[in-house]
Amino acid sequence: MGKMRATLTALALTFSISHASAEVIKIGMIANFSGPFAVWGQQFRQSMEAFQKVNGKSIDGNEVQLIFRDNGGADPAKARQLAEELILREKINFLTGFDLTPSALAVADLITEAKMPTVIFNAATSVITRKSPYFVRTSQTVQQYVEPLPEWAVKEAGIKTSYTLVSDYAPGHDAEEIFVKKFEQAGGKMLGKDRIPLNVTDFAPYVERAAATGTASIYIFIPAGAPSISLVREFAKRGLKAKGVKLLAGGETQEVYLPSIGDDVIGTISSLHYTETNTNPENIALRKTLVEMFGPDATPDIGTVGAWDGMRLIYDGIKQFGPKITGDQFMGFVKGRKWNSPRGPIMIDPEERDIIQQIYMRRVEKRDGKLVNIDFFTTGMIKDPWKVANPNAK
């Protein structure tokens, strides 16, 4: 009996000692897990869990905990409240996530006050990173990935005319602005610009309007998911492809949405910062782990790589500064940092804390019975064009 007690005491001591020396690092993540944008939460979470499977759930013996919070729709006030709760009650070390711009903007003052390093996994409005010195973005900005497309269309593909169909909200306006500007600069002619309300469910009239002008191409920007699927289907089902009209897109033709559109989407050209079929070792590891953990249908998208690279940045920061890394140390650490992402080489802009990356021109093809995007052209490293054009705007 006495011997057993001694053993237990020793055991308890060992545990408490090892416990005392190891820190727990908490990463809070705010995104939509329910509601119309729930796909983001799922992709972020799967990516973070897959990252931990590959890179371990602890760093030098310090446990890394993930804490997820559901934004529950486009609700900036709730995002702020969740961020407060994570910072004050959960005592997180890093704040991450943010699928939608309004939620990211809503926490800007808060994270500045709390000196909370905040990694944006998606929200793509250019100005966000200027709203707090504690923001860093590992995803993309809209203008960054749209910029190369119009020039390629005119100069490489010989497309002389175009028509834009964009959703009537801020990212859609951003995309329309840069597309029209670059298309006309390259010598192309715009035949029309339509803005589609976000609540539209039947896109036939818009596609017909564009087609009636005899345009050689239609550029679309519309939230990926049900709306983009309806719009691309409408284009495909009307036989415009057979008439030689080119569809130019961005995030709408990500691999994860292709099965919902069907074979008619083959041949669609898009520009984006991540191609799911690329053969970077990081990308192969990412895809393999996703399938192992979440089944054969698990497909990475831009949310997945945004979260993966955000985790990489945080893990590397902790490795260098230890588990007690401060917000200021981390923000200093990220500036100018370069690494190999599943998408390819990327770096963090030392001035803007925003991502600088290559953009890939891709074409939808069928490989081994599966609809996928195949790269055919890669740009140089591109900085967010809006920030270049507006050096002082806040």
Binding site: D202, K237, P259
Partner: protein, 288 residues
């Protein structure tokens, strides 16, 4: 030329709205139950049909019919267990409960099928275009127009020409008098509810090419379905057909001719139609 394109697009869109909304208008008119969860049955139909096609290789037509059947049965069960106690509880209780059911169905579908829209499962024969002489037109939309017309005719005979339909219309117009005449209104309710849910499931499955199936379907298109019901007149079968086609055609024409009006357009149409006919285009006698 232009007018034909607008008409075709508008009618095809209107037919999808009609297929899904007609069940709602009859149940709301007959039972006075504000069944906001109607869209959940349409969504369920879409999911069922897609699972049958992709996992079990069931042909498209059969899968939509089977989805309608299953939705009808589930609807019947729900009528007996969930809706019946609600009939006397008043509008607020009905709205709260059926709205809650929407969230339950959204969460359930997200859990079962994930948040992304389901994969395209249209058969090959619906994918191409058909030459109409003045232009080529997507086969799928022509198919929708055909199916919608066929179903409207069938429903016309059931509701306007059969004994069942006569009883149903009597119960809509004056439930008290219908009961006094010995009509089994309870049984009529259950049968109608089964029919309404089956139609919703069928509409969801067959209209998936225009309204993609995803967990948020039940809430996202709810307003559209309610607009059709309100413009048509509560409980009016002919009204819902007229309203669905009016909304489809006017909305399409507006988007085509004046896209600058954007999202206001649909509401201008609703506003104008309701100012003109506050009880709906073709209201049943009880409402006039």
């Amino acid at each position: 030329m232009l007018i034909f394109t607008i008409l075709l697009d508008g009618i095809a869109y209107g037919m999808v709205l009609f297929l899904i909304s007609v069940g709602l208008t009859v149940t709301m008119g007959l039972m006075r139950v504000v069944n906001l969860a109607h869209g959940s049955f349409a969504m369920l139909g879409g999911y069922l049909s897609s699972v049958m096609i992709r996992n079990y290789g069931v042909p498209f037509i059969w899968s939509t019919l089977a989805a309608a059947l299953v939705c009808g049965l589930i609807g019947g069960l729900a009528e007996l267990t969930i809706y019946r106690p609600l009939y006397r509880k008043g509008d607020l209780a009905q709205v709260l409960l059926t709205f809650g059911m929407i969230f339950v169905s959204i969460a359930a579908m997200t859990l079962l099928f994930g948040p992304t829209p389901v994969a395209e499962s249209m058969p090959k024969w619906l994918e191409g275009q058909i030459d109409l002489g003045f232009r080529t037109y997507p086969a799928y939309r022509l198919f929708l127009i055909g199916v919608g017309t066929l179903l409207a005719i069938v429903l016309y005979f059931i509701i306007e020409r059969s004994l069942f339909g006569a009883r149903l219309r009597a119960a809509v117009d004056d439930p008290g008098m219908a009961r006094a005449l010995g009509i089994n209104v309870n049984l009529l309710f259950t049968l109608t509810f089964i029919g309404g849910c089956a139609l919703a499931g069928f509409g969801g499955a067959i209209g998936a090419g225009i309204l993609p199936i995803e967990p948020f379907y039940a809430l996202k298109y709810l307003v559209l379905f309610l607009v059709v019901v309100v413009i048509g007149g509560l409980g009016s079968f002919r009204g819902s057909l007229a309203a669905a086609l009016a909304v489809g055609i006017l909305d399409t024409a507006g988007k085509y001719l004046v896209p600058q009006l954007g999202s206001f357009l649909l509401w201008f149409i609703v506003f104008g139609l309701l100012l003109w006919r506050p009880n709906g285009l073709l209201p049943p006698k009880s409402a006039t």
